[in-house]
């Protein structure tokens, strides 16, 4: 354990509040009557629903299929009946509804047969495909589909970092998991290392978790190094932990894999263990419930567990509770609706009380004190970005490297003027994204418009050419047949017009289908194909009706 560690700039040391929830073992949850499984739990395209209201499902059955490359599957948490595939409250800062599969449990909790995978024999891409179907996604918060991260895709990776730092205050789910299930985590790590072909395996754990350090140290075979990293926020940020352990800075706009390093959360390693050794898809995760509740602690909650039930399992909120935070206090967001379910990304639910979570004091103007810049782990100048984000001068904000901001909240945490800096950065980022998308859409529209004009032009030209050619031919014919001067120019003209009309009709017949479907992206092609299929069906119906 005498590894040289690197210290990143900035960071803060908020009160840990870990003791509230890390003293008791992970508790199982009773089987609930109802689960709500969102189809968009990960970064990327939402899963495509495979079930309809009324369908019977078994635990572990895939109910949402991955759609596109960056996507992963969703599964039924227990056996029962689908009561709806409809928009439902989800844990999202907007409070908007999203498509969910609502399942009524039948109480029998039957499952499909889980097939363990022989990962040493399995071809890596087959293994990844299985993992995709098992719905694995990063459990650390970013919920990036795991199978993509397990694909070195041409890059040579040399180091695998397991993130057990858990730097956010209040959250202890990884801590408990490492204490109690170190051996299983280690098995999962082995699978990761195997698929990625890495030589060095580092498990970074903050030194405020001595029990977890000891447990992991005891479980780790030679070749895996458990490293105690100094406690400090955001020491568990992917980029920060990578730097602390290796001194490698993740290049801006890139990923750590560009430097040959892959980072996974320990929770993900655990679910990989379950997927491979037990053949079980991602059906549950450990969630910390803490703050102003009767019985804070960690719970093994099935994906889809409504927050109300989760709260109840922790003994319910105490008097004076004042809303909940999903995630940690530094990067989490307000829970808008308690009906929202636990998803793969929900690692913590904190019940607020006015004492420990007082409302933000009045915002004062920025005094350019630079405290935010000193606290920023990305070495940014938050007050400059704030200034331009506030003025909606997004270009300028971007020139101060807005997109290198990891939204860790350190700046807002230290700001003496209590400016909600991160809110401004999120605002500016989503505005810029939207603009870029609009720009992209406009560019496409322009191209398509120009193409259409070109097509019309071409058709017109072709028509004109045909007309001219036909006229020429007629003339020639006329010239050869009637060489004497009795030729009637009028008749000739009439003939030509007639011929042209015939031509036109012929051409129209030829081109009954004016295809405008050239150069379409495959996704749209697919959409068209679906539409055509629907149409064929409808046609068959109408035809049979007519006939």
């Amino acid at each position: 354990m005498s590894r040289q560690l690197f210290t990143f700039n900035g960071g803060v040391h908020p009160e840990g509040h870990k003791a509230e929830s890390n003293a008791t073992p992970i508790r199982p949850m009773p089987l609930l009557p109802r689960y709500v499984v969102p189809l968009r739990q990960h970064i990327g395209a939402p899963a495509r629903p495979l079930v309809q209201a009324g369908d019977a499902v078994l635990g572990g059955q895939m109910i949402g299929a991955p759609e596109g490359y960056v996507s992963t599957a969703a599964h039924a948490p227990t056996s029962g009946r689908v009561v709806a595939v409809a928009p439902h409250a989800v844990p999202h800062p907007s409070g908007l509804f999203d498509l969910c599969v609502v399942i009524e449990a039948d109480g029998e909790d039957r499952s499909i047969d889980f097939q363990p995978l022989d990962w040493r024999k399995l071809d890596p891409s087959a293994l990844r495909n299985r993992i995709r179907e098992m719905g694995l996604a990063g459990l650390g918060g970013a919920v990036f589909p795991s199978y993509i991260k397990l694909n070195p895709s041409g890059q040579t990776l040399h180091t695998l970092i397991l993130n057990g730092a858990e730097c956010e205050p209040w959250i202890t789910c990884d801590d408990r998991l490492m204490r109690e299930r170190a051996a299983e985590i280690v098995l999962g790590i082995e699978v990761m290392a195997h698929t990625l072909g890495v030589k060095t395996i580092l498990i970074g754990i903050e030194d405020n978790k001595p029990e977890a350090l000891a447990a992991m140290g005891a479980a780790a075979p030679s070749g895996m190094e458990v490293v105690a990293v100094p406690t400090g926020y955001p020491g568990g940020g992917g980029k920060q932990l990578t730097y602390t352990l290796t001194g490698v800075e993740t290049p801006t706009g890139g990923r750590s894999t560009d430097a040959g390093i892959q980072v996974f959360n320990v929770g993900t390693a655990y679910s990989l263990y379950r997927a491979v050794y037990l053949g079980e898809p991602l059906l549950s995760r450990v969630v910390t419930v803490t703050g102003h509740v009767a019985n804070p602690g960690n719970f093994e909650a099935r994906i889809g567990t409504p927050m109300t039930d989760l709260l109840a399992a922790a003994g319910g909120a105490l008097d004076g509770a004042d809303g909940e935070i999903v995630g940690g206090p530094m990067m989490g967001f307000d829970l808008m609706d308690q009906a929202a379910p636990v998803t793969k990304s929900v690692n913590c639910l904190i019940v607020k009380d006015p004492v420990r979570f007082p409302p933000r004091p009045t915002t004062l103007p920025c005094i350019r004190c630079g405290a935010c810049a000193r606290a920023c782990p990305a070495d940014l100048q938050p007050f400059e970005m704030y200034w331009f984000s506030r003025a909606k001068d997004f270009g300028k904000a971007q020139s101060y490297n807005l997109f290198d901001c990891i939204e860790c909240g350190c700046c807002a945490y230290v700001c003496p003027s209590h400016i909600p800096l991160v809110d401004f950065f999120r605002f500016a980022k989503s505005e810029i994204w939207e603009r870029e998308q609009e720009k992209h859409g406009a560019d496409q529209a322009r191209q398509r418009h120009e193409f259409k004009e070109f097509r019309l032009e071409r058709e017109k030209r072709e028509k004109a050419e045909k007309f001219a050619r036909a006229a020429e031919k007629n003339k020639e014919a006329a010239a050869t047949t009637t060489t004497d001067a009795t030729a009637d120019p009028d008749a000739e003209k009439k003939k030509a017009i007639l011929q042209a009309a015939l031509d036109r009709a012929k051409k129209a017949k030829e081109a009954v289908t004016p295809r405008n479907t050239d150069n379409l992206p495959p996704r749209v092609e697919k959409e068209i194909a679906e539409i055509e299929a629907r149409r064929a069906q409808a046609e068959a119906k109408t035809e049979s009706g007519e006939g």
Binding site: R40, P46, V90, H92, P93, S94, L96, F97, D98, T362, T363, L364, P365, P420, D423, F424, R426, F427, K429, S430, E431, W433, E434, E438, G441, A442, D443, Q444, A445, R446, R448, H449, F451, K452, V512, T513, P514, R515, N516, T517, V524, E527, I528, I531, R534, R535, A538, E539
Partner: protein, 182 residues
């Protein structure tokens, strides 16, 4: 006195030369003005500006024949950006022009008779289908220009406002609490 004037003039000349050199040296290869204007226009191609599409409008602006506030889909923001580009005052949208929430056209597949009139009207080929077959709009490519509505003989096309969902949701402008409550 004379020497002072000479010195000042000399400094002026030197600075001028530097500036001139810099402007030559660092000149950005620019798109022609029309392209730049066209890049700001939303490419809805709806013709509400009174021109048969965004490009003609851009050309008219470049020639100084059209005002910059005629494009409702671009909204106030678009006018502002045009004003910045052209170095003129921004102004409100022209009389009677109002931006509408972004919408896309939807064809009622059960009513459509497959006349292809809308296909011809759509400026961006967002409608697919062939004669005597029902037509469908590709949501991604529809710009919401509404040009396909009038030609439809059976009025089966309607505009649906794009709803905010989890995917396209944006963080709001943070609330400030600095002003005194009235």
């Amino acid at each position: 006195m004379i020497s002072a004037i000479l010195v000042m003039a000399g400094i002026g000349l030197a600075l001028g030369a530097i500036l001139g050199w810099a402007s030559v040296r660092y000149r950005v290869e620019d798109d022609p003005l029309v392209e730049k204007i066209d890049a700001i226009l939303p490419q809805t191609q709806c013709g509400q500006c009174g021109f048969p599409g965004c490009k003609p409008y851009a050309e008219a602006i470049a020639k100084g024949e059209a005002d910059i506030n005629k494009c409702p889909p671009g909204g106030a923001d678009g006018v502002k950006r045009l004003a910045e580009l052209l170095g003129v005052e921004a102004k409100p949208l022209g009389e009677g022009l109002e931006p509408k929430p972004k919408a896309i056209a939807v064809i009622d597949e059960n009513t459509c008779i497959g006349c292809t009139l809308c296909v011809q009207a759509c400026p961006v080929d967002a409608i697919i289908g062939a004669a005597k077959q029902m037509h469908t709009i590709i949501a991604d490519q529809c710009t919401g220009c509404e040009l396909c509505l009038p030609p439809c003989p059976v009025d089966c096309i309607s505009m649906e406002v794009v709803k905010e969902d989890v995917a396209n949701w944006k963080w709001r402008y943070p609330v400030h609490m600095m002003k005194r409550e009235a």
